[in-house]
Amino acid sequence: MTEMTGYLRPDGKVGVRNHVLVLATVSCVNGVIQRISREVPEAVCVPHAFGCGRGGPRDLQILFRILSGMVYHPNVGAVVLIGLGCEVSNTKNLSPLIKDCGKPLEILNVQECGSLKTAQKGAEAAHRLLTAVKTQPRVPISWDQLLVAMECGGSDAMSGVTANPAMGAVSDWIVEKGGTVIFGENTEMIGTDHVLARRAKDEQVAERIVQMVNRADKLAHDIMGNMAGLVISPGNMDGGMSTIAEKSMGCIFKGGSTTINQVVDYGDPPTERGLILQDGPGYDGDSMAGLAASGAQVMFFSTGRGTPAGFPILPVIKVASNSRIYETMKDDMDVNAGTLGEGKSREEIREEMIDLLTRVVNGQKTKAEVNGMDVFTFMTVHPPF
């Protein structure tokens, strides 16, 4: 097996990338982030739609957890934080949460010098930090230092037949090597809570699983009313799925079949190893941010209809569920799981995926990284006011 390397962080975690992150604290400064991005294309610039206008305790918790999670993320070597001044998640409010991140951190506020000067100073800081992080060497790392996320989106009828079982085989392999695997999407667990609970490490984890799935089920009914049945839609049925349990099995199978050691809240880092569930939403964009904030360094993402979505600071490995979409979207897809059933065994495709994962950990860019298909959005409970 090829040796793996990564970047050792002061908190003991390891990164598989050494990004300079230029992060907005609020949507009002997105133009500044975009200017910096044009000046310093090598920096990972993240504008977004959040940071103010929401006030409930749960939304505040998520906002601060995701933004600080981005700063703390082990794939990030240095940070330029661009604030406005009067927003909810302003740099003053964020500071106590990120001051111990142990990495170079430069903070600028638009209300102190205007947008153009902030962009100029931000670009200079990003250049400076890029030079600084390039001197940091890669060191040998092992599987037990990796948290690998499993995600699915833009699924088709074959996602649960080829791509997710292939990812499940990878999940089992990683767990056996001492690594950690995490997946979320609680809406896509509806109907399989008993299966997941049976695999829980203990009573408490089992109870937490049932609670999480029941809440997702109730939420679907509260929001969609009589349409909640569309969680399994006519389209799903046309694709051959007959029950919600069958559909959800196809989804949870991407996490493999090992013991579930912990359920973490949306964006919370796990404290256990092995297989972890995240209590997060089914929408893939929101889910990715939660998994990243939990500290996942790399992600597998299955798709059958075909989505190019990646995530700013994570290498996202795209797994096509069928050969047609693999060919159609070849520039976006990293693995063709459609070859399963076209002569390739699950063991062969698992080996291929682990080999690719190893190379991606060691620095090989995924298609989404090469193409810059970054998506950054996260869950909110209430609408803005």
Partner: protein
Amino acid sequence: MNDNVLMIHSRDNVAVALRNLAPGEEAKGKGVAGFKVFNEIPASHKIALRDLGPGEEIVKYGEVVAVTTREIKRGEWVHTHNLESKRWKK
């Protein structure tokens, strides 16, 4: 290369059609052989790997995903017309 069905888990009693299947053709996949397709089965739909009695559990992914509502023959199409959810009855 000539597989036309895929069995996901070794405990399963159904497999998934990899393309549209016609009655009379041989069902072939890893761990699947020796019987013919009974009726038309659309791609990505389920095919019974053995005879199933009424009320019998349908196992896919190694887990119970539904129960049959009537007898299903080996090679037959398995879908909403001959099964129901175990927890949410029709």
